[in-house]
Symmetry: none
């Protein structure tokens, strides 16, 4: 079967530019991974006639049509009603979904308004996709050799639903012949153009696997994609290319797929049985927030101090007033003292500190982008100076990523 996939996002907020269609991006990545060719994205508003027109157009050119949005409780939410009507199907209550919704209201101790029941309605004959993070279930139905899949609009519900249940549906339904295998390699500390220059000959020669570089948020990724009748052979092709690439730029490589630098730090802290605490001036809690957002954080994060003012640096963290007076808060000495103090005060194996100038203006006469990261262990304390460009937001984000980068190097060196 020649698969021609189309993604239809339903929602006037997209046509008004209030939000970006990140759902289409996510689904496109997912579908590329499982080998479904996506030929069109469409966005249409919460309007029955135009949605109907979009469905008719899609049906003529696509045989897998994935909808996001319009499954909610309000009158604007028209997706399943319009598709059901188009397919000549009726709508029925799904008992499991209804129970799930009632459960949600019990748990949050709020009263359920009547229109919420609308979310438990599904197209008759469809396979219901459970919503583990919200109320409206998804569904999939195959009519006249065309698959219609309906997913909720909020990314926090749609993404896990597709990954968990949507992918499986396609695997079982379509039984793929040629294996398309992809692997994403992640790099930090090297720019995109430098990385591309270093592997230019490999990029020029690419056919199978292909190499697709992408830069975002100070990181560079390479997506390697191989096609082969045998999945093993496809994986072997990728393995070989990865080895070749990392012989050149392996020092900047830190992980695969969606792994973040924070996950890598977590993994290494757990493996080496170490704990960490952070003293954050410039970054104001950003580093701790990222680490504690990971499950089981209490096994490797003890805590930290957000020492945004010099008063807190002195009184709570114990930085010497002399350092603050002579060198200033944005200095190598202050970063060093912050890192060792937070380690001692929290009884952690590692203390890390972040101080610098996020902007918009200079601070202590030091230009925007001046950054010092301190890392302290019971053996030694090192300070890494950086000069970063960009917005306040960008500087803070790249600072915590550099912190992770240095931690990864440190932890990898510990037996």
């Amino acid at each position: 079967m020649d698969i021609r996939t189309e993604i239809i996002a339903v929602g006037s907020e997209l046509l008004l530019g209030q939000i970006v269609n990140s759902n289409a991006q996510f689904l496109s990545q997912q579908l590329a991974e499982i080998g479904l060719n996506v030929y069109y994205h469409t966005v249409v508003g919460d309007n029955q006639n135009r949605l109907k027109h979009a469905i008719e157009t899609a049906q003529k050119r696509s045989n897998v049509i994935i909808f996001t949005g319009g499954l909610g409780p309000t009158k604007d939410d028209l997706t399943k009603e319009t598709i059901a009507h188009h397919l000549g199907k009726s709508l029925v209550i799904d008992q499991d979904a209804l129970t799930n919704i009632e459960q949600y209201y019990l748990q949050t101790k709020r009263s359920m308004s009547e229109n919420n029941k609308k979310q438990a309605i599904v197209i008759e004959g469809s396979i219901v996709l459970k919503n583990d993070y919200g109320m409206a279930p998804g569904m999939a139905i195959d009519v006249d050799e065309t698959i219609y899949m309906l997913l909720p609009g909020p990314p926090s519900e749609m993404k896990p639903m597709f990954t968990q249940y949507g992918r499986t549906y396609f695997y079982e339904k379509l039984g793929f012949q040629e294996h398309l295998t992809s692997r994403v390699l992640r790099y930090f500390g090297i720019g995109e153009s430098q990385l591309e220059t270093d592997i230019q000959d490999l990029i020029d020669l690419q056919t199978n696997p292909t190499i697709a570089p992408l830069a975002a948020d100070g990181e560079v990724t390479l997506r390697l994609t191989a096609k082969h009748k045998s999945e093993e052979a496809a994986i072997r092709l990728i393995d070989e290319l990865e080895t070749k690439i990392n012989e050149r730029v392996g020092q900047f490589f830190y992980g695969y797929e969606q792994t973040t630098l924070f996950q890598k730090v977590k993994e290494l802290l757990l493996a080496k049985n170490k704990t960490i605490s952070a003293a954050e001036s410039l970054t104001g809690g950003l580093f701790s927030q990222h680490l504690t957002s990971l499950e089981a954080a209490s096994q490797f994060v003890k805590g930290g101090i957000v020492c945004y003012t010099n008063e807190v640096k002195k009184n709570l963290l114990g930085v010497s007033p002399l350092i603050l007076d002579d060198d200033g808060a944005v200095s190598e000495k202050c970063a060093s003292e912050m890192a060792s103090q937070i380690r001692l005060k929290t009884n952690s194996d590692i203390g890390i500190s972040f101080t610098g100038v996020a902007g918009p203006g200079k601070q202590e006469g030091k230009p925007v982008g001046t950054v010092f990261i301190g890392i302290s262990t019971n053996n030694s304390t090192n300070v890494y100076p950086l000069h970063l460009a960009g917005s306040r937001h960008g500087i803070r984000n790249r600072t915590v990523k550099y912190g992770c980068h240095y931690l990864v190097k440190l932890l990898q060196g510990i037996e």
Copy 2:
């Protein structure tokens, strides 16, 4: 003239999910501002047949069609060729564009490859839109009462081109008579379905202004849009509707447009001349991170303690071991003590605390979603218990937003 606008983005990288269609979002916002209704977004790959199909489909349903992408020098770039063919027009060299390209190479001291000249080719009879930030010019042409506008794909080129030249084209071409005015009202602490129920009669009656609700990240927004020959009158229509809506749900209203709860907290802290510090267990620095991401944060944030472990709660923050033993870390008493301790330890006007169970598992026998927020001033300390549902990420995010919500109420009450 009844304007029906469609945005067609051309580029296989969008269909592979390598990038998100931020161009469509930007253009939609711009077009909403100048009063052009956008009814469809389409994304199609670098494929002549499918691009041709997308143009034919658009032409049937839209009379303003804006293309982004596919104007570059490579063989993949097919947009203008395909549109010219569709319109039965030929392609001609634009001398100004060619000079611009040659100038660019002179300036960057690089040699110009022959395929770059392709970028200076435009559709005959079109109005050329200058590219001030790159090489490929845009163009606009009106054929059979349909306007075709072609813009480059890179946002850094497309955005200034549209703002500078694209908007002007539409102004001159369409000679607007009616002013379209929009205002976004932001609510927190009320669900979308409850808010809609509360103002259902206003929604049912809507014609001018219209009311568009949107829920995201635990917040609900209403976009009110009015049309009128006089801009003043349009604003008055919106003012009146806002008053009616907020007579019902004003207690949950916190700001306009893109204002965040954190910005509202900042605004009120500065206005009332108060400082704040946070003791964060559950949220691990998330609250402090958000506040310090705002400019001039040192004027209202002193600092904070991330007390992820009980050890840090006791030793660094000074929570009584008795409370931790008897009531546990996830308790009203602990939240209260955390808030007053952080206020005292940092010498702040307000101390705020966050403790709770983010999951995935229970903690101290308390279910996921159990949350306590403490707020301490020199007058009193209050604790707000919550029961939240959702993912670890969702619970943490909504917790800090609830913290802001209670702070806003508190600060609004201070003279």
